[in-house]
């Protein structure tokens, strides 16, 4: 299991389009990927669940990744978050 945190920088927060891209990216890995913030937690492979968290700018989100490809997943996710959010 690997964890990392990230503070959302995007003005709109984790909005629909990047959330969709995140789900796509996460779905490419076999590891379970959970995203946690002050409003609760959600499976990063489920778009509606992610959107329901209503993550806004400035939120600190914590990723928990567990599985065979957890290392690659974390690397990809970290890069994605920095670029898009």
């Amino acid at each position: 299991m690997v964890q990392f945190s990230y503070v959302i920088n995007d003005e709109l927060g984790l909005h629909a389009r990047p959330a969709g891209l995140l789900v796509k990216l996460a779905s490419g890995f076999t590891s379970t990927i959970t995203l946690k913030c002050e409003n609760g937690e959600a499976d990063a492979k489920r778009l509606i669940a992610l959107m329901k968290l209503g993550i806004q700018k400035g939120s600190n989100v914590q990723f928990t990744v567990a599985g065979d490809d957890e290392k690659e997943a974390v690397a990809a996710l970290e890069q994605f978050m920095k670029e898009k959010l």
């Binding site: 927060g13 909005h15 789900v23 489920r46 778009l47 509606i48 209503g54 806004q56």
Partner: protein, 463 residues
């Protein structure tokens, strides 16, 4: 992307499995629940606005599903079709080859389901007052049109009785076949033409098979209803030509577009009317939009080179309307002549289906070659009773003396001007009135093809 999300899918599945909801309802509910969730996110304006996305996608799926639900264009095994009611759009798209019988919870003997059932000769029981229920899927049923009865999962004894009854019915039908080629005269030699009402080309084939003397009412609406756009001139021409060729020289009376009221097509953009039965329909649409009318008339005239075609205008109320319709017809003829396009001798007639037309029939007879009395609308407008409203059955006298008097008057006025008169409404097939029509010298009765042989038998037994 939202659609692929398992949360949406699960919500729909749970609703269907857990609450026994139908798919359309479940999709709408899932969309609504999500929309509600997001619109409640008060501190997040962006997410609040997503509520519209969920409503939009769920509505779109629901629409697709709704269409799929009433996609009756392919029915691949013999069925008894149960529904609360069927719209004209649904009945027109329906493939009836495998429909053994109709059962509807609503409707009346004059509703579209009933008219369709009569035109193709299958049993229907309407206005059962019982909602159609998917629980009945796959069960055996007996639909008894004589008694207006529907029996689900009948006992063997009853089943046997009905099988016998069915055999007897089929035998009788077979013996009628012998009347296909004989003429329609009474014992004392009084003659009446027996024409067929048709709603599409298959009906024309049925009319030929049952030995119709002609087509008294070719409902051209089928070319317009259930389509995304107007039918082209070519498409119409092909249908009219086909009908003329199938009838092989016998008269085919094509009624021009009779849409509006209960028969709708979205692309016409008719708008919502407070009282559509008395609004934009039939000839009124054609006179307001001559380009629509002309396209149809060109197709009809071009087809007239291939057989005997007559044209008939619906919903006439005044001499002025007839004059306008005839003028447009003349314009079309001239256009065709100018382009050296062939057309035949086309008789022009009108429907007498409003009390105004019946009352003015002496004047109208001076302008046209024939009348056809549409008894369904004539009855509805004379009595001010909606024939689709089952509550009216109690008040609606199908043999209303007021209507019969109008018919009598119309025939008398027509014959004074040598104008032929036919009856093309449901009353034409009513054996209780056959004698009345013959006594009043009606020239032609136009009925659904499956009724022709039994009516011919009946007429041949009259004095």
């Amino acid at each position: 992307m939202l659609l692929l999300d398992p949360d949406f899918e699960d919500a729909v599945k749970d609703e269907i499995i857990g609450q026994h909801s139908n798919a359309v309802f479940a999709v709408k509910k899932a969309g609504k629940d999500l929309a509600d969730f997001f619109s409640a996110m008060e501190d997040n304006e962006y997410m609040q606005q997503r509520c519209a996305d969920f409503l939009d996608i769920s509505d779109r799926i629901a629409r697709v599903l709704e269409n799929a639900d009433c996609n009756l264009s392919t029915i691949d095994e013999p069925v008894i079709l149960m529904a609360d009611d069927l719209t004209p759009g649904e009945t027109i798209q329906m493939d009836t080859t495998n429909v053994l019988a109709f059962v509807t919870g609503g409707g009346s003997v004059n509703s579209h389901t009933a008219i369709l059932a009569r035109s193709i000769g299958i049993t229907a029981v309407v206005n059962t007052g019982v909602e159609a229920d998917t629980k009945l899927n796959g069960h055996m049923g007996i639909v008894d049109g004589d008694m207006g009865r529907v029996l689900i999962d009948p006992e063997d004894e009853i089943l046997e009785k009905y099988e016998e009854k069915l055999k007897k019915y089929n035998d009788e039908k077979k013996s009628l076949e012998e009347l296909r080629t004989v003429s329609t005269v009474t014992r004392s030699g009084r003659k009446i033409d027996l024409y067929a009402n048709v709603g599409n080309i298959q009906d024309v084939v049925r009319a030929v098979d049952s030995g119709a003397d002609g087509i008294g009412l070719f409902r051209s609406e089928f070319l317009y209803i259930g389509k995304a756009d107007f039918p082209s001139e070519e498409e119409q021409f092909e249908s009219y030509k086909k009908a003329a060729e199938l009838m092989n020289g016998k008269e085919v009376i094509i009624r021009t577009l009779d849409i509006g009221a209960d028969k709708k097509a979205d692309y016409l953009n008719l708008g919502k009317e407070e009282n559509p039965a008395m609004g934009m329909r039939a000839i009124r649409i054609c006179l307001k939009h001559p380009e629509i009318f002309k396209t149809q008339l060109r197709a009809i005239y071009r087809a007239s080179a291939f057989g005997t075609i007559s044209v008939m205008f619906p919903m006439i109320t005044s001499a002025h309307e007839v004059e306008r319709a005839l003028q447009i017809t003349d314009d079309v003829k001239k256009e065709l002549s100018d382009k050296s396009i062939r057309y035949g001798e086309v008789k022009r007639g009108i429907m007498i289906e409003t009390p105004a037309a019946a009352v003015m029939s002496d004047i109208l007879a001076e302008k046209v070659d024939f009348f056809s009395i549409g008894t369904n609308d004539l009855t509805q407008y004379t009595l001010a009773m909606d024939r689709q409203n089952p509550e009216m059955s109690e008040f609606l006298d199908m043999h209303s003396p007021a209507v019969l008097r109008l018919i009598k008057m119309t025939v008398r006025n027509a014959h004074e001007k040598n104008v032929k008169v036919g009856i093309c409404g449901e009353l034409g097939a009513d054996p209780k009135l056959t004698e009345f029509f013959i006594n009043n010298e009606v020239d032609e009765l136009s009925v659904s093809a499956p009724k022709i042989l039994s009516l011919r038998k009946h007429i041949r037994e009259l004095e």
